[in-house]
Amino acid sequence: MNFLRLPALTLVGFILIGISAPQAADMHVIGADPAADADHVIVVDEQGQVHAEEHGDGHESSGGLPQFNPSSYPSQIFWLVVVFSVMYFFFSRRTLPEISGVIENRHQHIQSDLDSAEKLRQEAETVHKAYDEALDKARTKASDLFAEVEREIKEKSAAQFQAFLERSSKEVKSAEAKIEKAKSEAFEEMSTVAAEVAAKAAEKIIGVSTDLQKAKSIIDALHKNNKKAA
């Protein structure tokens, strides 16, 4: 901050430097006494200015550059200092901080936008990764389940097939036994019938009543013989 005040101070210094030279020249032209009291100096000076201006005009028409006419220097220096100071003051206090604030603000805004975009991108990436993982897991789980179900079905069907086999063979066996039994019963009945028929026949033909039991045993024996022959 110390240095910010320096330009203004330096310029004030210039006023004094710049003004002293032409002032001395003017005084020399009109021969004013520097030791005169204040009122007197001002009066003399006003005359001096008129003098100087006339002198300057004459000089210009004779071809000299107005730039090298020192009578205008104090005014130019003074107004340059005033204008420069005002501009410096306003620029350093208001305009420049304002512009830099806006630019800084924009810069931060863009940076934060970029940052949040980057964060969102990373978030999306994580989500995508998690999604991929979940998908993979689901896929393996599905294939596991599928294999499990297949295995179960196979087991079940094998068991059922086994059970069916057992049951069917049992049924076949019992059916066979039943048939066998029916067969033997049928034979039994047949021999009884044969014995009765034989007894009846013998009664009719030779008129003897026969013992049924005897006849039956004879039939059985015959049957056994037949079987042996067969």
């Binding site: 240095f3 910010l4 320096l6 330009p7 330096t10 310029l11 210094g13 210039f14 710049g18 003004i19 002032q23 100096v41 001002i42 000076d45 006003e46 200015q49 100087a52 210009e60 071809g63 550059l65 107005p66 730039q67 090298f68 006419n69 009578s71 205008s72 220097y73 104090p74 005014s75 130019q76 220096i77 003074f78 107004w79 340059l80 200092v81 204008v83 420069f84 005002v86 501009m87 410096y88 306003f90 620029f91 350093s92 208001r94 305009t95 420049l96 304002e98 512009i99 830099s100 604030g101 806006v102 630019i103 603000n105 924009r106 805004h109």
Partner: protein, 248 residues
């Protein structure tokens, strides 16, 4: 033919005398005031909205800011920020002076050696003042080129010293001479044109040739007006660099 020098004459508008000094508000002061008023008004109104997405005026204001900021960053370095208001003010006042001078019937205050001289002297004294304040006597090692054998220093130190002391003169004369010469040339060509047209006959046709030249010269002068403001601010940066760091 109009006097090409007449455009540089200082004419008082409001006579003013303070403490025996003629501090009249002149045409030069008027155009300085216009320059300050225009630049301040423009920059303030352009930055009024402080928009995140700038409009045309704000872009222009920010462009000038970034232009000067870039100049300081490249030529002084990051430490040059403290000189930003100074360089900015110097650049704007010179640029406005040069550019406003291109308006017909206006006054170019940068075509006066006393104005450019005061600006140059301000920069020169700032460099010396801040340099000595910061670096003490070490500041004067600026005049001793590094890696030079001792006998050569007898020759080189005076040269370095002279080139340092001549800085405010070259800085001010460059701007003043450019502005003055350009405006004189413009005026002379315009004078040719009016003189030839006044002759009548073939002059009525030939009189347009210097006018056409003037059109080209005005665009050249506009370029010079900007370029000289840029050069002035650039050299200001380069000179101010000596207060930040001294080469060894």
């Amino acid at each position: 033919m109009a006097d090409p020098i007449h455009q540089f004459v200082i004419e008082p508008i409001i006579p003013l005398s303070i403490g025996g000094y003629d501090l009249s508000f002149t045409n030069s002061a008027l155009w300085m005031t216009i320059a300050a008023g225009l630049s301040l008004t423009f920059l303030t109104s352009a930055m009024k909205r402080k928009a995140l997405v700038p409009g045309r005026a704000q872009i222009f204001a920010e462009m000038i800011y970034q232009f000067v900021a870039g100049m300081i960053r490249e030529n002084i370095g990051p430490k040059g920020r403290e000189y930003f208001p100074l360089v900015f003010t110097v650049f704007v006042i010179v640029l406005m002076g040069n550019m406003l001078g291109m308006i017909p019937y206006s006054f170019t205050f940068t075509s006066h050696i006393i104005v450019t001289g005061i600006l140059a002297l301000l920069i020169f004294l700032l460099v010396v003042g801040i340099g000595i304040y910061r670096h003490g006597l070490h500041f004067f090692s600026l005049f001793i080129p590094p890696g030079v054998p001792a006998p050569m220093l007898l020759v080189l130190v005076p040269i370095e010293l002279l080139s340092f002391l001549v800085r405010p003169i070259t800085l001010s004369v460059r701007l003043f001479a450019n502005m003055m010469a350009g405006h004189i040339v413009l005026k002379v060509f315009a004078g040719f044109s009016t003189a030839m047209l006044g002759m009548g006959g073939i002059g009525m046709v030939l009189g347009f040739i210097p006018a056409a030249f003037n059109v080209a010269l005005i665009s050249l002068e506009l370029l010079i007006a900007f370029l000289q403001a840029y050069v002035f601010a650039l050299l200001t940066c380069i000179y101010l660099k000596d207060t930040i760091e001294i080469h060894h």
